[in-house]
């Protein structure tokens, strides 16, 4: 297990190198002079030259790349062109916001998706199976922005049960410690704020979690069906096991690997920032951060944002791979 972990970590090195090359190239793939493009057409010659100098664009590519990588290795993501602030400082709260939203969206997706899948497989071809799978089909086919708008219209506008925007009420701001507001509220022992934070999470989590939920439900169902007809499940039943033990101990564990793969991929996708959902719910996450950077042509932010998202994606995959080996004793590459 340890050797496998180390080997898996070493395999990250080429991936990370590839990632930095790609993010570095983004600025240089812009047709024409990057500084000119960044500043816009109305920029004067001196302005362009100043920017070129401050961004180090005069140097040869290899030197520029060296500087870029050495900055990254020191944990410096650079400076935003728009706000002139350190990207490191800016990006952390955004990441926390996205992490929090993803956590609750995936929690919703996994709890409902996995259980719906299990019951569908267990009661194969029953009315529950039929409706759950119909619901799952609708779930994957539904555009997120439409679902988000419908939620806002029904639960915020018409019924007024839940807030439609942001992470907290404008009147009662929280003093951030970790920038995970739910966690912060708990650390502050502030029940009221906790309730407010959770209330703000409900609608975006459901909007964001619906597609993963539907995919997880379908995956769990098909994986469970396959496992349930296997020889070893018959053996376990021949030993006198009840359905519950058969399903939740043996079948579920065996059906986990493909489901885990999907969960990992979907988590990665959500963490990459759900631009649509974050925009509709005014959620100050990483997706909106990158989106704003693109509209301002704030290249350092775009570069760093993409790099961070890619890094998260890679890390999630790493965790999933390690979990495989933990679940299945046969996996020892």
């Amino acid at each position: 297990m340890l050797a496998y972990t180390i080997r898996r970590l070493l395999m990250l090195i080429p991936v990370l190198i590839g990632m930095t090359i790609i993010t570095f190239s983004i600025v240089h793939l812009i047709p024409g002079n990057p500084a000119q493009v960044i500043l816009g057409e109305s920029a004067t010659e001196t302005q362009v030259q100043d920017l070129e100098e401050s961004m180090g664009l005069n140097e040869p590519y290899i030197v520029q790349f060296g500087i870029y990588v050495s900055d990254l290795l020191q944990g410096d993501l650079g400076t935003s062109l728009k706000t002139k602030a350190s990207i490191n400082k800016e990006i952390l709260p955004k990441l926390a916001a996205t992490f929090e939203l993803t956590f609750f969206a995936m929690l919703f997706a996994i709890i409902i998706g996995v259980n719906a899948g299990i019951i569908s497989a267990w009661r194969h071809n029953s009315w529950f199976d039929f409706f759950a799978m119909l619901f799952a089909l609708v779930g994957v086919s539904m555009p997120v922005f439409w679902l988000a708008l419908m939620e806002q219209w029904i639960f915020a506008q018409e019924l007024g049960w839940l807030p439609a925007h942001g992470r907290q009420d404008s009147r009662s701001q929280i003093d951030p410690i970790t920038h995970f507001y739910v966690l912060d509220s708990i650390l502050h022992m502030d029940m009221k704020q906790l309730f407010i934070s959770l209330k703000h999470l409900v609608l975006p989590s459901i909007a964001l979690g619906t597609i993963p939920m539907a995919i997880i439900a379908r995956m769990t169902r098909s994986s469970m069906l396959e496992v349930m007809s296997s020889d070893y499940i018959r053996t376990i039943r021949a030993k006198g096991s009840g359905q519950f033990l058969v399903i939740y101990k043996h079948a579920l564990k065996n059906a986990t690997i493909p489901v885990l793969t999907i969960i990992g991929l979907q988590t990665g996708v959500l963490l990459g920032g759900a631009i649509l959902t974050e925009t509709i719910f005014s959620w100050p996450g990483i997706g909106r951060y990158i989106y704003d950077a693109i509209s301002y042509r704030d290249y350092p932010v775009i570069q760093s944002g993409i790099l961070v998202v890619a890094l998260i994606f890679v890390m999630i995959n790493l965790i999933v791979d390690l979990l495989y080996a933990f679940i299945d004793p046969r996996i020892k590459y």
């Binding site: 020889d231 070893y232 018959r234 053996t235 004793p329």
Partner: protein, 337 residues
């Protein structure tokens, strides 16, 4: 050897599929006495596995269903027993081992865990105690370094070892009956002999009755006291091993015995029964073997033969055994060949 442990009376298990109702087990009756080894022999599709799964209520349903008949276990009919009741019977009183040792153990749990789970489902013992028993069972079935194997995973063992584990698991609770569904089919010949020896000694030591399902007459002659020959969902012949091997009565059994390779006869090619097993059909009239039978005559296609009782508790489902209509009588009349 007089107490009947398990008895099937006119058991019917049907599968309800899109292409109609298939009587996979069509009126099977058999008896298993205490300490006895009874073999069920037949080709693929003869219904022998379905019979064994029916006893355990392990038929996948839908599409399978136990339509009628009785399953008497220690004189109690369990054919319509509740799932709750069956859970107490399975593993504890009737245990089962399967054909594919490679896939019959859960790959994600240790050997010990799977044996312990079985023990603790039926008996209130501590984990430690159950583990000690698991190790003892593994030693009993001849697994070397049992105290290490108990913590290993199935993929670390060979096929023969896994089948031993299956047997250890099945025997852990001292069941009255062991149903072995082709336990040696997937193993190579030397391992086969070892596994059969093991089953034989467990049968002797613990007086466990064994219902051995196989298509291998060699295995039958080595292991069994009595044999039931199945064809297309029905019993076609029954008797002691000796008699059936030496003097088969039903044309199908005769064919089976003839197709065994024999070292003493010099033959160019091995005999085989022409055709394939008829898929059981509902409301079929006539003898199911008739189309492949060299003795078939008109009556075989018009009426369904019953199971005729012969001398020495033998039975055969063939019109040749109908009163006064022996082989000789038809030898010169209507034989189609």
């Amino acid at each position: 050897m007089d107490e009947v442990v398990l008895e099937l009376k006119d058991l019917h298990t049907h599968f309800f599929t899109d292409s109609g109702e298939i009587p996979a087990v069509d009126g099977v009756s058999l008896k298993l006495h205490k300490g006895e080894v009874v073999g069920i022999v037949g080709e693929s599709g003869s219904g022998k596995s379905v019979t064994s799964l029916s006893i355990m209520h392990l038929i996948p349903k839908p599409p399978g269903k136990l339509v009628s008949g009785e399953i008497l276990f220690k004189s109690e009919d369990i054919s319509s027993a509740s799932e709750k009741k069956m859970r107490k019977v399975r593993g504890n009183e009737i245990a089962m081992i399967f054909q594919e040792p490679m896939t019959s153990l859960d790959p994600l749990f240790t050997i010990g865990n799977q044996i312990i789970e079985g023990i603790r489902l039926h008996e209130k013992v501590s984990k430690k105690e159950a583990k000690a028993r698991a190790i003892k069972m593994l030693e009993l079935v001849g697994i070397p370094r049992a105290d290490e194997v108990v913590d290993e995973f199935p993929h670390q063992l060979s096929g023969g070892m896994r089948q031993r584990v299956m047997i250890a698991m099945a025997m852990a609770l001292n069941p009255e009956v062991l149903i072995a569904d082709e336990p040696t089919t997937a193993l190579d010949v030397t391992i086969q002999a070892q596994i059969l020896d093991l089953m034989r000694s467990l049968n002797k030591e613990k007086e466990t009755s064994i219902l051995l399902i196989t298509h291998d007459l060699g295995v039958v002659s080595e292991m069994c006291d009595r044999v039931v020959v199945m064809y297309s969902g029905q019993v076609v012949e029954e008797g002691t091993v000796r008699e059936i091997i030496k003097d088969p009565q039903h044309p199908y059994t005769k064919g089976l015995i003839r197709s065994l390779p024999n070292l003493h006869k010099k033959e160019q090619s091995l005999y085989s029964i022409p055709g394939t097993v008829m898929r059981p059909k509902k409301d079929f009239v006539g003898c199911r073997f008739a189309s492949r039978c060299e003795f078939a005559f008109d009556r075989c296609f018009q009426e369904s033969p019953e199971l005729y009782s012969l001398d020495n508790d033998r039975q055969s489902r063939c019109f040749l055994h109908d009163e006064g209509k022996g082989v000789e009588e038809f030898a010169d009349t209507n034989i189609r060949s």
